[in-house]
Symmetry: D2
Subunit: 183 residues, 4 copies
């Protein structure tokens, strides 16, 4: 089983990359993880005129292929201004162009982290609604890590054993959904 | 009174630009309208590393100045995948960087248009929540024009007199809020 | 396979009951449908003091049993003031009390109908988020019927063949999810 | 200036009542506060048949009068299942019946408290959207108190000086909006 995993921010030291690393570690051994850095698939701001004249940009094509080649997605998102980061939403907007938008039927696990107390929970809500409209199967489990600047120890592990367990359980659920729905 | 007015999509022929034109026409004579095309203020995808090394990009600086110079905002948004277009959200993400984020206290009128039956109403909802977190005063009035590919006559006016009236009333409310709150 | 099906409004002539009838008709023969009228399970407004002194009210107990006895749920919701009807939310609030809240793992299909143009789409969004927090598996498919006072013919069928097909497809997806996830 | 203030839960010992008391204390001296306990205005679950046969129930009528007699509202809401408590939403559903729904043009301050880490922030979001559809002026300021079971000292004050200040500032903003908009 192949899982495409990526963080929604571009910044190299982002807290979301740390949470991504924790979840990816959990998945290893149980699934093949295709770890993506969104900087590998740069794309301009979506513009219908640009699409009409030039088609999908290279980055968007490669992003779609990576999604299509996976059986499930793991997205760790920051929250900007109470919602989805514009850049992450922009990758979804390009990737969702018809025909053959690759989100259809894909199980998705959404996680988030932020330095604030609410952990990016509003970004997860907005993403859940947006991805559902693309027929992705966003699983109910989700974990939002607040005060994330203090949540990881030096080895990169989550300090709070309950949060660690929640991430492990959510990852296991992603694999369970994926196995069940492809049957 | 100065109102900054812009559509959330880049495409030249967008239905949102048509609705923007209707609203701007309504405002003329009652307010000074600063009509912005987001293509005038291009900016890259938000990236914290880029901001740390280079500061705000030129486009973001100019966008912030245009917002700061206005007393109210009119935003006409499309809906991409049930939410805010990534590109529009990206401009907000850059413009909102502290200190001196320019949305604070600004009355905002949100309109939307889409070819589908729901008229972009979900994009308006997501924008309302995001802009409120920036202390913008999103006024309760809003108009979402569904089936927008059939909503305008050849002169560019809204065919439905009720919708026309709703847009006029919403624009009047924007000016009323702005006048009252600056008092 | 047993599906619990109910409309979110109490009014006997509600448009949601009409849409419910269409969906139930679609499910018959493929699943056993337990058709519930929320008036059969009356319950007071949720009150923590009442719960502490008297436990769950009879209506809430019976509602929970009906949910627990089903393998999937079909909910057809109206929209009140851009969100979930208070009465429907109240049944969920009572039914969700721990331990043994019965929504966990249950596939749910959400449909909506309203006389307005947007068809209750905002109620579906709010319900999707609320039920996901209860670990229900809200499937991505959903249908919101706008102008619902004109949407049904005299036999009670949906006039628009596309909407009819969407409801049929959504019902089939509910059964597919349910079969796959119980495996 | 008269402010109607109430908590969204019925339970006598609720954390929301504690936060309400803090905010009301802040308002005293600057405004006349009409403190409402929702148990004073009991009403059944909204049912269109009941409304058609009997009109508004007594509790709903009195609730509407209390709203109408105030120039602004302060609502402190809990969060049930990631959204508005059904009981609170039900009072809004009854109170919003046309004609003369009393929310129109009323400035509203939304606060929330919950024992969980996210403080009811999702209930505030859902309420903001619902009340905006009733033309209420939900001010951008809001405070969500997480871990609220540990947030108050023995005198009932908020322990965290930042939160205390946020509540004070939000209350001052409610009064500023109300004064400006009635001008």
């Amino acid at each position: 089983m192949r899982v495409l995993a990526f963080a929604g921010s571009l910044r190299s030291g982002s807290l979301n990359r740390k949470l991504l690393a924790v979840a990816v570690e959990t998945l290893r051994g149980k699934a093949e993880v295709d770890l993506l850095d969104l900087r590998e698939v740069p794309m301009p701001i979506y513009d219908g005129d640009l699409e009409a004249s030039d088609g999908l940009p290279e980055g968007a094509k490669r992003f779609r292929q990576r999604i299509a080649a996976a059986e499930a997605l793991l997205i760790v998102t920051p929250e900007y201004n109470n919602s989805i980061p514009g850049g992450l939403k922009n990758t979804i907007d390009w990737a969702s162009r018809r025909p053959d938008q690759p989100f259809k039927g894909k199980p998705v696990l959404l996680l988030s982290a932020s330095p604030g107390p609410f952990g990016g929970v509003r970004s997860v809500m907005a993403l859940r609604l947006s991805l559902a409209s693309l027929m992705a199967v966003v699983i109910p489990n989700t974990v939002s890590v607040g005060r994330a600047d203090q949540a990881f120890d030096e080895s990169g592990a989550l300090k709070d054993p309950k949060q660690r367990q929640s991430v492990e359980h959510a990852c296991a659920e992603l694999l369970r959904f994926t196995a069940a729905l492809k049957g």
